[in-house]
Amino acid sequence: MGRFAKTLELKGIPTVGAAAETMVNYGIDYDFKYTNGMPIRYVAFPFPVAGQPPEVHKRYVEGEDRLSHKPMMTAIVDALTKPLTENEKFKGVPPEAQPEPRLLPPDAADNLQQLFKERDWTDYNPIILPTEARVQAMLKGTSHAPEEVVATINWPGGERPLTVEKAAIAAVMAGARPEFMPLVLAVASRVPFGNSTSSMANMIVVNGPIRKELGMNSGTNAMGPHNEANAVIGRVFTLLSKTVGNLHSGKTTFSTLGSNLQYNNLTIAENEELLPEGWLPLHVQMGFKPEDSVVTIGIGWTYISSVGEVQIGYPPQNLMRDYMHALSSSGSAATIVMDPTVAKLLKDVHGFNKKEDLSAWLSGNVEKTVASYWGNGVVSTVNSAMALQGLEPLATWLKAPPETLIKPFSNPKGIQILTVGGNIQTTWFVTDFRLGRGVKVDDWR
């Protein structure tokens, strides 16, 4: 929003930024310093704004600006009419950022562990201290030069180069081995983790030979704390998001509940070996070769378990449909994670000869009321304006009576299927994770 206010200001239109009191400090501090560069004048409303009746909004307008503590409308008028201060007239190149030293001052190991926690550089579990020797050893896992920039992270602002060396430092901290580096670097190219007041999380899906090379688990307990590579790769993503990604609670990330999934980011190796014939691994569906090693990062919020075994009287696809009814359907996205036994049943008994058949069936059969659809704040935030502009089918959905049933997963390509698990129970999870474009791990060897 600050950037929109800046656009108007550059056109000569005095503009006030309006934010909830929970977010306004981000606008006037970090966003101003590292993203916007313009000292936008803000007013702060009480929180929450969404979900409140008109009479509460009337009180907000007639009440106090939570930033200046003036009456709200006085604060707005003042922001548009009071002359600029010298600081607000300043134009120029900002001071050079104080460079971070390459090495930290020497200290006792316990003190360093404490320092890393105090600076919020960890997930608050003990780390392996990144000595030069350990980082040098880690760098042997890739042919890429330490100073090579994997990605420049400009969210939220700051243009921070994430180099191979910084990725190796995080890899050491997380407990990785040098052979993990190609996958670490591929994952690093997608840092940082999901950042939203809605409390997002990520999913990391690994395909191809790298799974076996690193001893990843795609079988029994694959999604639990039982495998070194699964645990460490997910942890690296989190540590990099906090270090080079600069995501720190209350400063640059404001997830209201947070997500416990961010400890491991749902790091999964797909059980490609037990896919039914005709069911392709995720990366092959995307156009990669089977022998390519690929990692795909997803973003979402939720997963719901089937809990128990498939029942003959109620096919698994029906229960998946029922549980998907509870997902937001934001972006028409879902990822179904199923034990290989479920995939086999779906193909052999229920005739889904390929993953895309199941995706199409779910797209055509998951229903919810328009009231439920628009009742989700993220869906309303992202889609309501387009509905009001007349974009279909959103426009029709917005005008329909509340109990009208719609099929919100309108794009079957948004529904992905993964097989993970140990052939022990016919269990599956439906999730609302939207998977991105795969990254080739082999490019980072």
């Binding site: 006030v16 009337k58 950022a97 030293p101 090495l103 006792a108 980082v135 921070r160 309303s380």
Partner: protein, 132 residues
């Protein structure tokens, strides 16, 4: 004292031990005893944005056109409803200000150049929000 040699190292070790037993050196004793470790810095400095000035303010809003721009955060009835109340308040207290309520074409994540062009052409001031 003549004839008595004091072994300094033994004396220092003994004093340190005594002080440790008495709890008087605490962490200091531990630090001196423990090897110091040098580690690599995991973070990178953030580059600050180029500074730009605000545009000059208006002398007053009287007779001006004020745009209230809803960024659609929180859905169609969040900021829009606040702006309805704001417009009603201004109709009573600042009736010579023309108020125009608008929504962004998409979500707050998507730029809307047509909106900015309209405001630049027809407006004198704007409120944009409500984030959070």
């Amino acid at each position: 004292m003549r004839g008595i040699t004091v072994n300094r190292k033994f004396l220092l070790s003994g004093v340190t031990t005594l002080l440790s037993v008495l709890g008087l050196t605490g962490g200091m004793a531990a630090v001196y005893a423990e090897e110091l470790v040098t580690v690599m810095n995991p973070i990178v400095e953030s580059k600050m944005a180029e500074r730009l000035p605000l545009s000059p303010r208006l002398d007053s809003l009287s007779g001006k056109t004020l745009y209230l721009v809803d960024i659609n955060w929180g859905g169609p009835q969040a900021a829009w409803s606040v702006y309805e109340q704001m417009e009603a308040w201004m109709a009573v207290h600042m009736p010579d200000v023309k108020v125009v309520r608008k929504r962004l074409a998409a979500s707050y994540m998507v730029d809307d150049p047509a909106m900015w062009a309209e405001i630049a052409e027809k407006g004198d001031a704007a409120i944009i929000g409500i984030a959070g």
